[in-house]
Amino acid sequence: MELLRFATAGSVDDGKSTLIGRLLLDSKQIFEDQLEAVERTSREKGFDYTNLALLTDGLRAEREQGITIDVAYRYFATPSRKFIIADTPGHVQYTRNMVTGASTADLALILVDARNGVVEQSRRHAVIASLLQVRHLVLCVNKMDLVDYDEAVFDRTCADFSEWASKLDITDLAFIPVSALHGDNVTQHSPNLSWYGGPTLLHHLEHLYIGSDRNLIDSRFPVQWVVRPMSDKFHDYRGYAGQVAGGIFRPGDEVLVLPSGLTSTISAIDLYGGTVHEAMSPDSVTIRLEDDIDISRGDMICRPQNAPTVTQELDAMLCWFSEKPLQENAKYALKHTTRSVRAVVRNLHYRLDVNSLHRDETTGSLGMNDMGRVSLRVTAPLFVDEYRRNRTTGSFILIDEGTNETVGAGMILGTGD
């Protein structure tokens, strides 16, 4: 069974929680004791209806304030697919949570209220999905019951959104009309939407083709750990453990090791108790080479004709998470694949307004939840690809060396100015 990870963004008002509740209920992932607890709390709080948002708002503070403040992960499965939902809050002050949820998502689900159409928040969600290179986007036009299931309303919303989306880097966009409250077109077709000829939301999620989303071209293997058993049975064993970050590796392949620049040939690929004939993303394996060369954690195994860029200069789009603003010339710890280095912010080119796409070039800093383009210099070479080409070798995080907090996330655009 295949796994699909998707991120949802929006607020309670959009009916996001109701929609997720509906998906979980209809796929029988909500259990009686959970539903009972939610019904009991709803009664105690004096709601007229069972507030399905209580299922997803897990922290005391969230329930007290009636808002979602953090990413929650939800799980459900149908006979054809298993799903992981990164359920993220939609308000602008939680952009960082949305970015977090989108970073591992195959698909982003953006909800709009049919009565309001495409609003600033929907546009922001689309921009973030595009920046994070979420390949598939679904615009769910919810609350169709409140506009009398009017096809013209749906068409207008789709047209509005398409116009905006054309400015973004989005490869696959689908539009689906639903009423989460009544269950129209969520998991089952509805006579109320008989003019709509497309799939239900669940059908779309189940059948979306994600097989070609992985990069099977550029072979990348960041070494995590050197396996040396030092036992009698495996006396001379030396293997390089890691998770394939792109391409396909096979025994017999000639490989290049960075930063040493030495080449060798793969003698075997091990996976607990045996060998495999190939490994590709996201397999976690151990690679053995024919030659005894010096390789350690942080090194990269790739192909001689297709290597990542070796650089100490990075040009990146950065999302800032910390209350303490990003300043030019500030220094941070940087983690990229399995390599940790230090970085200095040489230049902040602009702050991107994620609502309007306006570039503010006068800014000298990035505040919490801001996004902007920066140039960095790092203390040791990194082996990078453009984020568009490879999410793993194209991403990094910045860490404050004083507080140890994760303060920023970067998507590599290129190398240097």
């Binding site: 997803t56 977090t100 750990w225 998770q243 983690k335």
Partner: protein, 302 residues
């Protein structure tokens, strides 16, 4: 022909292996919490795979409430011996005897909450800086919001409102002396995934996970096992039934379910049909309040 479809179990396993190798590489002294329960058995199997053919490069730890099912202790000791690993047993009884914690009084008193103190003391005295736990996000609402790398301050506390953002597969394990990171490598697995993996990998579990005859009694809607650690009240009736356990914890607060399932395949069918979560059905410790898990986690619980 290259088969590019990835099974969800392979993908989850690969993610968990990646996490364990990151921890082994970046921390001074990791430890893996091993209770003998199914989640820790799965975690241990993943650890075996992550470092094979080398031995797992960290010790195990069991927080022992003293209220154990014998079958679980036997299983624990057998697995530890098979893998040739060191195990630290942190004893709640010793914490009580040393006056570090005070046990609740009365026939319904349980030791679950006391474990946090024993656990934190053991982490500190052994100098562990990363602690692998078998927690899963599908278990509880508070867990659903917890990071894979969950930072704990010098008091072992979790601050749910101040968690580090966690993106891609880049984990930030940096911490100061005295602080530590709880690591949940099987965060993204569900109860169903765990059972499917147990079936696929033929992972051995303590026998109490499968149907057996046992003397039980009904308390607060749960079937509790008759053990030397519980006092049966006057209005409670002990009966013999065919039961199994969905989770395994302290024997005084872990409930059994009536079940004929004798192997993982039977259990999978049962889990698929179940309408009650595993914790709701069988854990008295989670029934106290809506935020029971969140409150315990803030204090340093698993």
């Amino acid at each position: 022909m290259t088969d590019v479809a990835v099974s969800h179990l392979d993908e989850l396993e690969a993610e968990s292996i990646h996490i364990m190798r990151e921890v082994a590489a970046e921390f001074e002294r990791p430890v893996l919490l091993f209770s003998g329960g199914k989640d820790s058995a799965v975690m241990l199997k993943v650890a075996e795979k992550a470092f094979w053919p080398a031995r797992i490069p960290f010790p195990l730890m069991h927080v022992d409430t003293g209220h154990n099912f014998e079958e679980v202790l036997d299983f624990r000791d057998r697995r530890v011996a098979e893998l040739g690993l060191e195990i630290v047993v942190a004893s709640v009884q010793e914490s009580i005897d040393a006056g570090r914690v005070t046990e609740d009084k009365g026939p319904k008193a349980i030791r679950n909450r006391l474990q946090s103190v024993t656990l934190l003391d053991a982490i500190e005295s052994n100098g562990f800086d990363a602690v692998f736990g078998g927690g899963r996000r599908d278990e509880d609402k508070a867990r659903a919001k917890e990071r894979v790398y969950s930072f704990r301050d010098e008091f072992g506390q979790w601050d749910p409102k101040n968690q580090r953002p966690e993106l891609w597969n880049l984990y930030n394990g940096r911490h100061k002396k005295g602080e530590h990171i709880r690591v949940f490598p099987i965060s993204n697995w569900t109860e169903m995934d765990v059972w499917q993996y147990i079936a696929r990998e033929a992972i051995e579990l303590p026998s109490i996970y499968y149907a057996h005859r046992r003397e039980v009694f009904l308390r607060d809607g749960m079937l509790l096992a008759l053990t030397p650690y519980v006092t049966v009240l006057e209005n409670e009736e002990v009966i013999e039934m065919t039961v199994r356990f969905r989770t395994v914890g302290d024997a005084t607060c872990t409930g059994a379910v009536e079940s004929p399932a004798t192997n993982p395949e039977d259990v999978i069918i049962e889990v698929a049909a179940s309408r009650i979560t595993e914790r709701g059905a069988t854990r008295a410790d989670d029934k106290f309040a809506d935020a029971a898990m969140e409150d315990r986690k803030k204090e340093g619980y698993f």
